[in-house]
């Protein structure tokens, strides 16, 4: 069964303290790995898609990387406005999972001023 596991469940950082969030996955053929940000009471907001090992993408203070078994979301010098829950999701190459996303439970990030 396909699985997506995110760690840690929660992370508290001081403003400016860089860190990484982890997403490990087991899937029979990865089409794409997606990172979303979700603020309380809102729907997930798309951040990145990665679809081959070694790929990296950046957006402001965020950088996502992908290996054959996991993805990391690196946050450099975070600010309080980066506080949110970060969700990781995978999409399979074929079958029913080729369009639906399988999500992890997320990492709740709190950045303290």
């Amino acid at each position: 069964e396909d699985q997506v596991t995110q760690s840690p469940e929660a992370l508290r950082l001081q403003e400016g303290e860089s860190s990484s969030l982890n997403c490990s996955y087991t899937v029979s053929g990865l089409r794409g790995l997606f990172w979303y940000r979700q603020d309380p009471g809102k729907g997930p907001e798309f951040l990145f898609t990665l679809y081959s090992a070694g790929e990296e993408k950046e957006k402001e203070r965020l950088k996502a990387t992908l290996t054959k078994k996991e993805s990391f979301l690196h946050i450099t010098a975070p600010k309080p406005e980066d506080s949110a829950t970060y969700l990781c999701a995978v999409q399979q190459v074929s079958g029913a999972g080729s369009y639906q996303l399988t999500f992890g439970k997320g990492t709740k990030l709190s950045v303290i001023p």
């Binding site: 089409r31 794409g32 997930p44 798309f46 999701a89 029913a96 369009y99 639906q100 439970k105």
Partner: protein, 117 residues
């Protein structure tokens, strides 16, 4: 441009009542998805629509759940005889349909928070 919209934003109902949740996808997006997000759980896939193809209903948790998509655009998720365990946030997403071998980002609406008393 306009994103995915959902209504109502909040719905409180009594056990046993039927509810309808609405989703308006991004204009031009032919693929539409419903997910459910329960407290402490990840997003759970419910149903997928693509163009005029038969929907994939494999994620619907019981036959009390149904969904339709009219005119290839607006979708309605209906829950009959609601139960307390149906309480959750129901999220709708839409995407462009891409050919096999490429990815497709899904863009989410704000969700409908359903509370069954």
């Amino acid at each position: 441009g306009a994103g995915v919209s959902q209504s109502p934003s909040n719905k409180v109902t009594e056990k046993g009542k039927d509810v309808e949740l609405r989703c308006d996808p991004i204009s031009g997006h032919t693929a539409l998805y419903w997910y459910r997000q329960s407290l402490g759980q990840g997003l759970e896939f419910l149903i997928y629509f693509q163009g005029n193809s038969a929907p994939d209903k494999s994620g619907l948790p019981s036959d009390r759940f149904s969904a339709e998509r009219t005119g290839g655009s607006v979708s309605t998720l209906t829950i009959q005889r609601t139960q307390q365990e149906d309480s959750a946030v129901y999220l709708c997403a839409s995407s462009l349909f891409r050919l096999a071998g490429s990815y497709n980002e899904q863009f989410f609406g704000p969700g409908t928070r359903l509370t069954v008393l």
